[in-house]
Amino acid sequence: MKKVNLKIWAGVFLLLFTVASCSDFLDINENPNQATTADLSLVLPQAIVATASRASAYNNYGAHFGGYMANAGGFSGFGTLLTYNLQPADYDGLWSTSFSGPLADLNYVIGKSEGIEEYVLYNAAAKIMMVVNYQMLVDAFGDIPYSEALNPGNTTPKYDDAATIYTSLVATLNAAIAQIDANPFAPALTAASDPLFGGNMANWKKYANTLKLRMLIRSNGNLSSLAGVEFLTDDAIVNPGYELNRPNPDWASWGRTVAGALSNSSRIPTTYAFAFYNGAKLLDAGRGETIFVNYPSTPTNQLGNEVGNPPIVSGQVTWASNQAGLTGTGVLKGPAMGRPLMLLAEAKFLLAEAQLKGGIAGDYTATFYEGITASFRYLYKTESGSLLAGANLTNLVDAYKTANDDKYLVEIEAATTDAQRLEAIITQKYIAVNMINSDEGWNEYRRTGYPVTVTGGAPSFDIASNKSIISARPDKLPTRVMYPSSEQQLNKPNYRNVDYTSERIFWDPN
């Protein structure tokens, strides 16, 4: 009896060990669905395109605060968009998507390429794109995590002083430029790995210089290091190959869905912004016809007005021309158009301001008109990026000047003071970035107070929502957005509730 038992038990245990030691059975945890490593040549271009998507999101944010976009008829429930009764949750996406999107990817590229010669241009380009993303964040949120950011080892990064971050960003640009200069024979970026400049490092340097110019002007910095450098000579546009099925983010937001339905039917232009096109403030048929549906009979509204406000033009994309010969131009050219990170027009107006203030030598008047011409030029570009056949920019700009004869906002020679000249430059910039980089219009409005607003005036002259609950400020606009709810919940040691009616970004004197 006993012996039988032993044999059986021996058999059982033998079996146990055979199965248990079969480690192949357990070595199956290799991910068949997702990559666990990725080459920098795949991460950098994606980060650039992600930055373009952020630029589109910032445009949407700026379009609401900067007076470009209003509520259309047929919709209600806009809530804080009209009252400016801001909540932490309102602009969480601007913050969260920037950090966990392009910034994390750029940080990865920089970390993996640091000190590796083969990837030195990846490193430089990633640094420049990092500056672009950080600057957008600082301009919206002020002090943000920077020195301790992008490190999962520290889950509650402290907030750094915004002005200090600006200084550091300028230094980062300098480092990137120096890297490009020091490595003329480094393996080049390609059209595939660089959807911004297609590997043209001269353009990267020009872009870096223009970003420096923007930050130094905004922070009232010393421009001397920019003497003699080259700035952008063309629009800085990201286009990885957008097409109908993989559309440009602006087209996806405000144009049409892939299936052809309208993406937007709840927003129309503000009467305030439209007044720069229809003659109420300035007359600008040349650009208005390219931008707005049914120009000059485009439905517009003062932000906040919910009584008798017109709906969109049925079935039509609001910010797209439906004028014969001009369809496919303007700000929503089509799904395949590129996404501008910075317009040449903006670069020119920045330079004009620097020249006006004497920080950089040169003729601000000529630069100012180059800016207006560059704006026309961008708007008359077609979906493919080439200038519309038959468009004569000289004639168009001349017609614009003639229609607004002796108005210093267009003919800067008519201005009598530097204040008026600055107003002209900033107002033209405000017009140029309309629905392209509207956030820059909003930033510059906060820095300079231009274009002017008449609180309580006619809708053509009042930039703010007529439902604004902000009573402390003359313009009835908020000064900034709140820190996001994700920080409120997840970075408690550093989060603080800001007063969005009085706390200003460091470069905002108003």
């Binding site: 395109v49 994390a104 299936a259």
Partner: protein, 1046 residues
């Protein structure tokens, strides 16, 4: 269980019965079990005081000679003995009731092993088929609610084939699975199977509340287990059962809607009527005739009285659901084989218009004795279910609430032919006809489940049994979702601005399979070491292998309307695929030492190897011990106590490891951060990758749950009462959690081992049969009460809380020092005394910066009541349940207050009002507050109620107690007497029954919305405590069943 007892009785039949001596009279009769009227063979019948008697035969019949004035004593193991005075009767039929003291009851435990209940050191409850199917619930889970101490069954959704969440002893794991493990005929089975089992196939369900009892099942058993045993073929004559149930479902618990104001929108001064508006902030109803909508192209327009329709159309929209269930089963056997075959067809028409569901199942359970020492068993279960439902039920419900009370939306069902129902002519400018929404957005899903297992038991020598078992589960699912193309007419577009945009249509198709292969091999050695000591040793190995694959394709933008094929599109195909594979090996041992049948020491140990963990952390061991002591057998004075039948005390300690790396692919591939194509890539031949948002901490380990429990079971002789209580405490450490981190880290979350959750509680039960008469009236009751208190003891450094889910102005968190899950909501700015601070100029409140603490979302208190009354053939049974101490947030602000349909926004008659319980700041001395008695809000209409800052964004406005009392089931059954059926010969038994389920629900007054059992996040999410508009109103069920046995 009863089967096994009967086997014992048959053996006893063969025992010699004492010779009979001369009697004066002959008495005959039949002995049946009170539980189900089945004959009880082998009942000893003794003439009191003589020691002489007889026993019942296979059909439960007996004949006996008795002297005048005799008393008969009926006894049988497992049943209570009965004494009956013969009197002048010649026929005495007896119903035997089960002995409530069930210490000798046979219980299935881990691995399919059986032990007597006296040996168990942990809490376990048996639910029998009759209790489970009393209310004829189509879902097994529904039949469990309120019947088991410690078990929380929540119906988390409405509609067809609703989902249930099943949790034992509270939520242990922060983000991992907390649902009980399902064991079907000894095989670990995906929990989704429970909702697809045919309840009529089930013999019984053992509920093992704690991880200790289930430890041998491996690491998934840390949540306790439900051990489902299906019916087997019965010995004896073949038996065929046929039954049919028809059930009607009626939407019963509706949100409170206002019926005073018609359509109108902001601004609200003064409210004006808008004929085509969805918002209901217009003037008060006055009965005048108004137009609704805009004119059709031919100029015609609808006119209705401006008053609420007689029957609220938003209630009438929900239809009467019909469920039809037909069951068939056959049981047959010979001396070597037993066979059980069962089939079910179940069809359901939903309360949601157009929605349907059906389910077909087939089961074959076969046992075969191959030789005296080798037995084989095989069971297969196949089930197919088909859903034909709308994919937009939530938006349709929203559409319903976006319709004012003076419009009868039920007239618009025929949207294809009725011009006012067609989207072109539908009166509502901004929201669709709900019938159109439902019918234009459809999903067809077909699921095929196969569950099969094969088992060989070899008995080489008497004390040793070697068992090998192979189990296989699979699910194949195909699903197709369609959205119809709709182009608005040029006329409609011309009068509608931006609100009518064409629907491009679309179609998506998906297919997936999941399989599980489970292999068990174990030996059990049972012996008596000496006269006093018994020993039971088990050793075994288990391997498990899971795979799954899924594919999906979709397009939007159809070319040809009504052709739903992914090739019929203007756009590129979108799609994806995924594959998962995980495996595990477990080796275990189990030893049970008994002394004189009154004390048992039991220890188990198991080591697991899991493929989803890194090699160095893959192997983990966990032990468990328990002890059971039968005091009533151990202590002579208790043994002889006449009031006491049995008293057992028990206690246990256990550890179980659980790997919680997410439910997808059983946690495979979670150890490294991943990259995916991002930002719309690929573009024109180029790829672009982005770093995933989750960073993984190296060295992920299993979670370990350590539990202790102790309790007693007391059986009294009086009233067959039994009382039991179990105290437990479990601590789960090293939780695997995706901790959300500041986005400034570049990630959204970090996967790491952190935190500890403690659960403590009491489970109690009381069962009794207070009425038991010889003329056939009996009544029994069961009360169960469960108290669970849990607390998050620790979380990640620097993280005071962990957000599980956010919704509107609320969030569900795990918060250190608080119960889990925990609800926090936004609130108005208040003073320290809790008074709402309103603006001294406008009288309006404002939102506070921080969320307030509300409470747990899982009920600490659960009380279950069930009972039955039997008289002759009638059985009346019922179950009620009470839960309280928890809270819920209704994320329905848009549908109820933005729309104006809800009752809240009429509480102040839509006029300016003094905000209740409010103060305003003293302009003279800032920082002090003046009681507000006269300062009214500057608006009390749409501008107030639709505003996020004043109303809808304030989570506290939509938060309330989730407590309830529910009458879950009531059933009345009549069994036709055998004497009626006898002449027909073919029918052996017949019964009819009426049953109602979800009959009544009582909730606190603050719950003006819906059934607080629902969870918007589904059954698998621990973030319970949210309700969204996708949970349509709950139904009340009324059914009738006829059942025949041949």
């Amino acid at each position: 269980m009863k089967k096994i007892l009967q086997l014992g009785m048959l053996l006893m039949l063969m025992a010699p019965i004492e010779g009979l001596f001369a009697q004066e009279r002959t008495i005959s009769g039949k002995v049946v079990a009170q539980e189900d009227n089945s004959p009880v063979p082998g009942v000893n019948i003794v003439i009191k005081g003589t020691g002489s008697g007889t026993a019942t035969d296979l059909d439960g019949k007996y004949t006996i000679q008795v002297p005048a004035g005799a008393t008969l004593v009926f006894t049988s193991i497992g049943f209570k003995s009965q004494e009956i005075v013969v009197g002048s009767r010649t026929t005495i039929d007896v119903q035997m009731t089960l002995e409530v003291s069930q210490l000798n009851e046979v219980v299935v435990t881990a691995g399919g092993l059986v032990v007597q209940r006296r040996e168990l050191g942990n809490q376990a409850t048996t639910i029998k088929a009759t209790d489970l199917t009393q209310g004829k619930a189509s879902n097994v889970a529904a039949g469990l609610a309120g019947k088991v101490p410690g078990l929380l069954v929540s119906a988390v959704s409405s509609g067809v084939n609703p989902n249930y969440r099943i949790v034992l002893r509270g939520n242990r794991s922060l983000l991992g699975n907390n649902q009980a493990l399902l064991i079907l005929d000894g095989v670990i089975t995906p929990s989704a199977m429970l909702g697809n089992l045919n309840p009529e196939d089930i013999e019984d369900i053992q509920v093992l509340n704690g991880s200790g009892a289930a430890a041998l099942y491996g690491s998934d058993a840390s949540n306790g287990a439900l051990i489902v045993t299906t019916k087997r073929g019965k010995s004896g004559a073949p038996e065929i059962k046929v039954s049919h149930t028809t059930t009607l479902e009626q939407v019963s618990y509706l949100p409170q809607l206002q019926r005073e104001f018609g359509s109108g929108t902001t601004p609200d001064t003064p409210p004006s009527y808008t004929a085509y508006e969805n918002q209901q902030y217009g003037p008060r109803f006055d009965g005048s005739i108004v137009v609704i909508g805009k004119p059709l192209a031919d100029g015609s327009i609808q006119q209705v009285p401006y008053s609420a329709t007689k029957k609220d159309a938003r209630t009438a929209f929900w239809e009467t659901g019909i469920q039809q269930q037909t069951d068939f089963s056959i049981s047959a056997s010979d001396d070597k084989s037993k066979l059980f075959l069962a089939g079910q067809r179940y069809t359901q028409e939903s309360t949601v218009p157009f929605d349907k569901f059906s389910r077909y199942s087939v089961r074959a359970n076969i046992d075969r004795k191959i030789s005296n020492r080798l037995n084989a068993a095989i069971q297969t279960y196949y089930i197919a279910n088909v859903y034909d439902i709308s994919s937009a039920v939530g938006s349709a419900y929203n559409d319903v609430l976006m319709s004012p009370a003076h419009v009868d939306i039920t007239k618009y069902k025929d949207w294809r032919n009725n011009p006012y129902a067609n989207p072109n002519g539908y009166y509502n400018e901004y929201y669709d006809n709900p019938y159109f929404t439902l019918s234009n957005n459809r999903t067809d899903t077909k699921n095929n489940y196969l569950q099969t297992s094969m088992e060989l038991k070899w008995n080489p020598i008497d004390p040793l049994t070697i068992t090998g078992r192979l189990g296989y589960n699979s699910r194949n699912v195909f699903s197709k979702s369609t959205t119809g193309k709709f182009t608005f007419s040029p006329y409609t577009k011309s009068i509608s601005g931006g609100s009518k945009t064409d629907i491009p249509g679309g179609v998506s198709e998906s297919g997936a399979y999941e399989t599980q292969l489970l292999f068990d091999f174990f030996g059990e050695y049972k012996t008596k070491i000496t006269e006093d000591f018994s020993l039971n040793v088990v050793g075994g190995v288990q391997t498990r292998d899971n795979t799954s694959k899924s594919l999906n394709v979709s397009v939007s933008g159809l070319v040809i309307s009504d052709l739903y094929n992914v090739s019929n599109s203007t756009t590129n195909l979108g799609g994806g695929a995924g594959f998962g594979h995980a495996s595990q090996v477990g080796v275990y041992g189990d030893i049970r030492l008994g002394f004189r049948d009154f004390i048992y020491l039991h220890a188990t140990g198991r080591n697991d190897w899991r493929s989803v963990l890194a090699k160095e952390n893959r192997s983990f061991f966990y032990p468990a011990v328990d002890v059971s002591l039968i005091l009533s057998d151990a202590i002579p004075s208790l043994k002889d106590a006449s009031w006491l039948d049995a008293l057992k005390i028990r206690g246990g300690y256990s550890q179980v490891g659980q790997v919680n790396l997410g439910q997808q692919y059983w946690g495979a591939y979670q150890l490294s951060a991943t990259f995916g194509q991002g930002s719309g890539y690929p573009y024109s031949g180029n790829g672009g990758f982005t770093l995933g948002d989750v960073v993984v901490s190296p060295n992920l380990k299993p979670e370990i749950t350590t539990s202790v429990e102790g309790g007693f079971d007391l059986d009294l002789n009086e009233y067959g009462a039994s009382i039991g209580a179990t105290f437990y405490k479990s601590n789960t450490v090293d939780q695997t959690v995706n901790v959300q981190v500041s986005r400034a880290t570049g990630y959204t979350s970090m996967r790491m081992n952190v935190g500890e959750v403690e659960n403590k509680g009491i489970e109690t039960y009381l069962r009794a049969t207070p009425i038991q008469t010889s003329y056939g009236l009996s009544a029994s009751v069961q009360v169960t009460y469960t108290l669970n208190r849990n607390e998050v003891i620790a979380l990640a450094d620097g993280n005071a809380d962990l957000t599980l889910s956010t919704f509107g102005g609320s969030r569900i968190v795990a918060k250190k020092g608080y119960p889990f899950p925990y609800l926090e909501v936004s609130d108005y700015k208040r003073t320290a005394e809790g008074k709402v601070i309103v603006d001294a100029a406008t009288g309006m409140p404002s939102i506070a910066a921080d969320y307030i603490q509300v409470g747990t979302t899982s009920p600490p208190h659960i009380l279950g009541l069930s009972g039955s009354v039997k008289y002759r053939g009638f059985t009346l049974g019922g179950t009620a349940e009470y839960r309280n101490g928890h809270y819920i947030y209704n994320g329905v602000t848009t549908s109820f207050d933005f729309s104006g349909a809800g009752i809240r926004n009429t509480w102040f008659d839509r006029a300016r009002f003094v905000f209740p319980n409010s103060v305003y700041e003293d302009p003279e001395s800032p920082g002090t507050y003046i009681e507000n008695t006269n300062l009214t809000t500057y608006t009390g209409g749409a501008d107030f109620w639709t505003s996020g800052s004043y109303n809808t964004g304030i989570g506290a406005n939509y938060t309330h107690s989730a407590g309830f009392w529910k009458i879950r089931e009531i059933s009345l059954r009549y069994d036709f007497p055998a004497s009626w059926l006898a002449p027909a010969k073919v029918i052996k038994a017949a019964n009819v029954s009426l049953q109602g389920r979800n009959l009544f629900i009582w909730t606190p007054k603050t719950n003006i919305y819906t059934d607080p059992e629902y969870s918007a996040n589904g059954a698998d999410s621990n973030a319970i405590g949210y309700i969204s508009i996708s949970q349509t109103p709950p139904g009340r069920y009324f059914g009738a069943t006829i059942s025949l046995t041949f």
